[in-house]
Symmetry: C2
Subunit: 238 residues, 2 copies
């Protein structure tokens, strides 16, 4: 079974939702037959590379609140994160373009290091307040995740590298009806929106597992025509 | 959308079915949004590495036919292949364990070269009668497909490399109800068994495309709780 998770490194509920999903997955009987793929979604796709601002300021402006009210909103999210055992600081974090991080996450996927890089990037952004908008921090995270430094630098320097993969993920999220993230899709059949409690993810996994039977397409009178069987025998249709 | 194709390099209908699927895909309006993944299935999983025999002999023994009758069976398959524009020779081909080829196809997938390697392996086996059971031929095919020679040799020398990935594919095929190959699965929702005509694949693609809507799982009263929207705003559940 395959679970795809659309998320953005700048999204606190994605950080929390990933931990809740993993708890839900651990409680699922067939967890070892589940493949997890992380897909790209930018909360702020129009933001330019290098244009960063403190998160608290951004929240206050977006919601029309005072800085103290914005801090209280962050504290509420932080309490949810800490309840899942996740570190979360609320002062020095910046908001910015996550496009380059998504490109690197695609490189990491091709190298089998996607989950490692995503965990490191979340931790850097939310728990350590290292700026994930600083290319040198991204290089360090890539190397920590097991990627080749020269390759990471190459992808960061070439703005077209994995750009189409990021945009394809975003188009696919729209086609699947995602209106926000985190957005979880189970075998392209069931969807969970938001950082729901762990039990919801276990339920979705169980539902998707039960719903795995395939609907056959093709001529009903010759379903196994032109096939080779597990005994090596190849049927030859008349 | 995602199409998974279970096949074996030793399976002539997989070779033919891949060409027919690709014709069907070319006629599908959303072809550029289709991801194809090749999955492992061994026709003869008990066969030992290095234990090869001429295909004609194997067919005659398996079906209890004379060598001439076995040759006629092969000629029938060859005619189907040639009708798809595929080369097919019927004399010198061997039968053997395809486990190492499947392991290499998993390496190639990790390196983004899976389809290239699969095409080269089919051509070598059916059109050129180069032995895909000879490790040096596999090295040559891997390099032709764009893989690193040292890495290919490393995988071939380490019999455990990607072995679990091959077995996981085979378990998954069984769980999905595959009784032979080629076996095509569309978004884990629709299945096509056998090297069907191109139109059947187009039909399956269209059916899967229409059936993409997700079933939501989770509390109906708070579907978007704990999510961040595309405007960057993060909802905070009460």
């Amino acid at each position: 079974m395959r679970v795809e998770i659309w998320s953005d490194i700048a999204c606190p509920w994605c950080y929390i939702g990933k931990a809740r999903f993993e708890q839900g997955l651990a409680a699922f009987a067939h967890a070892d037959e589940v493949e997890v793929v992380h897909r790209s979604f930018e909360l702020d796709p129009d933001r330019k590379r290098g244009d960063t601002a403190p998160v608290i300021d951004m929240l206050a402006r977006k919601y029309g609140r005072t800085l103290d009210e914005a801090r209280a909103m962050e504290e509420h999210v932080a309490a949810n994160a800490r309840a899942e055992g996740l570190g979360y600081r609320t002062e020095g974090r910046d908001h910015g373009s996550t496009f380059d991080i998504h490109r690197l996450l695609h490189l990491a996927r091709a190298r089998g290091r996607q989950d490692a890089l995503l965990n490191l990037a979340y931790r850097a952004n939310f728990a350590e307040e290292r700026s994930v908008f600083d290319p040198e921090v991204l290089v360090a995270l890539g190397v920590e995740a097991g990627l080749d430094e020269a390759e990471v630098r190459g992808v960061l320097a070439d703005h077209s590298a994995y750009a189409e993969e990021v945009r394809a993920d975003e188009r696919e999220a729209a086609a699947l009806g995602a209106t926000g993230v985190p957005f979880f899709v189970f075998d392209r059949r069931y969807g969970v929106s938001g950082g729901q409690p762990a039990e919801v993810f276990t339920q979705a996994l169980e539902q998707a597992w039960r719903g795995r039977a395939l609907t056959p397409v093709g001529p009903a009178d010759a379903p196994d025509a032109a096939a080779c069987g597990p005994d090596g025998a190849c049927d030859v249709p008349a």
